[in-house]
């Protein structure tokens, strides 16, 4: 019994320690964000990496999510002759919930992990110390561009995901179930408001900020050689996914 309490205690303690490092990193990030010199090339490089390079995976994820959403709701709604609402349901679910969350999770897997691995190996090969020694705040050079890229690009990816997902739903409804394309299209936008899209985009910005900060924090505080880098990478994905899913609930509650 005491052993279990001990394990639980350690777990809770570690989670809070993690959260503390996360917020401290975010704070330092905020402090250094406006300072010169601006490494514009590095900013763009990270934005391409987070945004552009993630398009294929976001495309596939949201496309198939939109498709399966239409498939499921069509089958269900058929039973009480409410097929006319499938477009609305698909659009609302995607913009408000699925596109931001799935984009966040996919980017966490793709980019958050690689940031942790990259910064982690820079830590264990003393490259981060070298930055310090060259009178450069490592957070300024390494973390500012990465987290900024997450903050800017994940919302944009989410908008792309919204469109692709809605298109996926449209293809299934019209192509597979023979829905009237014009009516489906009308139903898609009938109940969709700007606020729905915005709430998704705001959440996505938050997820982008979170997943990059988690990736950078895990990498930044890596210790223990190659094995440590491996641990940091895994931890980055797990923690970022966890933060995204937990904060999603509270953000949704807060935004609407």
């Amino acid at each position: 019994m005491t052993r279990w309490l001990e394990v639980l205690g350690t777990f809770v303690h570690d989670q809070f320690a993690d959260l503390g490092r996360f917020f401290r990193m975010l704070f330092v990030w905020l402090v250094w964000l406006p300072r010169r010199p601006y490494e514009v090339r590095e900013w763009l490089r990270q934005m391409v990496r987070v945004g552009w390079d993630s398009i294929p995976v976001v495309f596939l994820t949201t496309m198939f999510t939109g498709m399966v959403l239409a498939l499921q709701t069509y089958r269900g709604f058929e039973r009480f002759h409410a097929e006319g609402f499938v477009g609305s349901v698909v659009a609302l679910s995607l913009t408000r919930e699925l596109a931001p969350v799935l984009t966040g999770l996919m980017v966490a897997g793709r980019v958050g992990s690689s940031m942790a691995a990259e910064l982690g190996s820079m830590r264990v090969t003393e490259q981060i110390d070298a930055l310090e020694a060259m009178a450069t705040e490592p957070v300024h050079y390494l973390v500012v561009p990465r987290v900024l890229a997450g903050l800017v690009m994940v919302p944009l990816l989410t908008v792309v995901g919204d469109l692709i997902g809605i298109l996926g739903g449209f293809l299934v409804a019209v192509g597979l179930f023979g829905a009237n394309p014009v009516l489906y299209w009308d139903s898609t936008f009938q109940y969709l408001e700007v606020n729905d899209v915005m709430s998704g985009v705001i959440k996505a910005a938050f997820f982008g900020l979170t997943l990059t900060t988690v990736g950078c924090t895990k990498g930044f505080w890596t210790s223990g050689g190659a094995e440590g880098v491996g641990r940091a990478t895994t931890a980055a994905v797990v923690t970022a996914s966890l933060y995204i899913l937990l904060s999603d609930f509270f953000l949704t509650k807060l935004l609407f």
Binding site: A130, E132, A133, M134, A135
Partner: protein, 254 residues
């Protein structure tokens, strides 16, 4: 060269968790001098070196550079002070996503307003100073040998024309010829740049080639210090064992 004290380490203690790495280190480095700190693995050499530039803060005691107590400096002031230092790391610690040129140019682009042409000129100068050919500028660190990586690390360390140069194990893992070449490069940097040099190493061969003064660090304290000739004659069992490469009588468990 003025004989004033440039770096003063006074009674520095540092522990990591339960492990006490430094237990009261006292050391003075005079301006323009080359001090080599020798000691076995795990004696705390790297930890001591990182204190000199403020990468680590002492738990007790103080580190002063030109009379400035590092502990009293703000973050901005301590970054400013570091511009006067050049540090060459053990394995080079080069940014592996950048070419040799970009590595050396990094501190210049970061801290000086210089035209691209001026940056290129400075990179060429630094490469020449460490005896690397210009052709290596376009290579990536992964394409270089260990000895070349160190030299690029040196070149990057001198890019801002620092007053202090710190070398962390500059010859570890290098063959004797490369070691001699590195020693020659360090001596050349000293004579051309008028810098104060602190090197840590366990390579006595290197120490005798580059040192004005050698200090032996053992178990977190300075055990002895002397000029190279006197150092050889020190009447200390551990120092003598270290010089001869033997297991000291009191440390057979190690």
């Amino acid at each position: 060269m003025e004989p004033t004290v440039a770096i003063r380490v006074a009674d520095v203690h540092k522990r990591f968790g339960p492990k006490e790495v430094l237990r009261g280190v006292d050391l003075e480095v005079r301006g323009g001098e080359s001090v080599v700190i020798v000691g076995g693995s795990g004696a705390g050499k790297t930890v001591l070196l990182k204190h000199l530039i403020g990468l680590l803060q002492p738990d007790e005691g103080r580190v002063e550079v030109d009379g400035l107590d590092l502990a009293t400096l703000s973050r901005a002031e301590s970054l400013e002070l570091r511009k006067r230092f050049g540090m060459a790391f053990q394995e080079g610690a080069l940014f592996d996503s950048m070419t040799v040129r970009d590595n050396i140019a990094f501190p210049i682009r970061r801290h000086r307003r210089a035209t691209p042409a001026a940056v290129d000129d400075r990179v060429r100068e630094c490469l020449a100073m460490v005896r690397l050919e210009e052709g290596s500028a376009v290579k990536l660190p992964a394409e270089l040998s260990g000895g070349m990586r160190r030299r690029v690390g040196f070149a990057r360390a001198i890019a801002l024309a620092p007053e202090f140069l710190l070398f962390d194990e500059p010859t570890t893992g290098l063959d004797p010829i490369n070691t001699a070449a590195i020693a020659a490069v360090i001596n050349r940097l000293r004579s051309e740049l008028a810098v104060t040099v602190v090197t840590i190493t366990h390579d006595m061969n290197l120490a005798f080639r580059i040192a004005d003064r050698i200090a032996m660090l053992r178990r977190g304290r300075i055990l002895a210090e002397a000029e190279p000739a006197a150092f050889r004659e020190l009447d200390d069992l551990y120092v003598q064992a270290f010089l001869r490469g033997e297991v000291p009588a009191d440390e057979e468990d190690a």
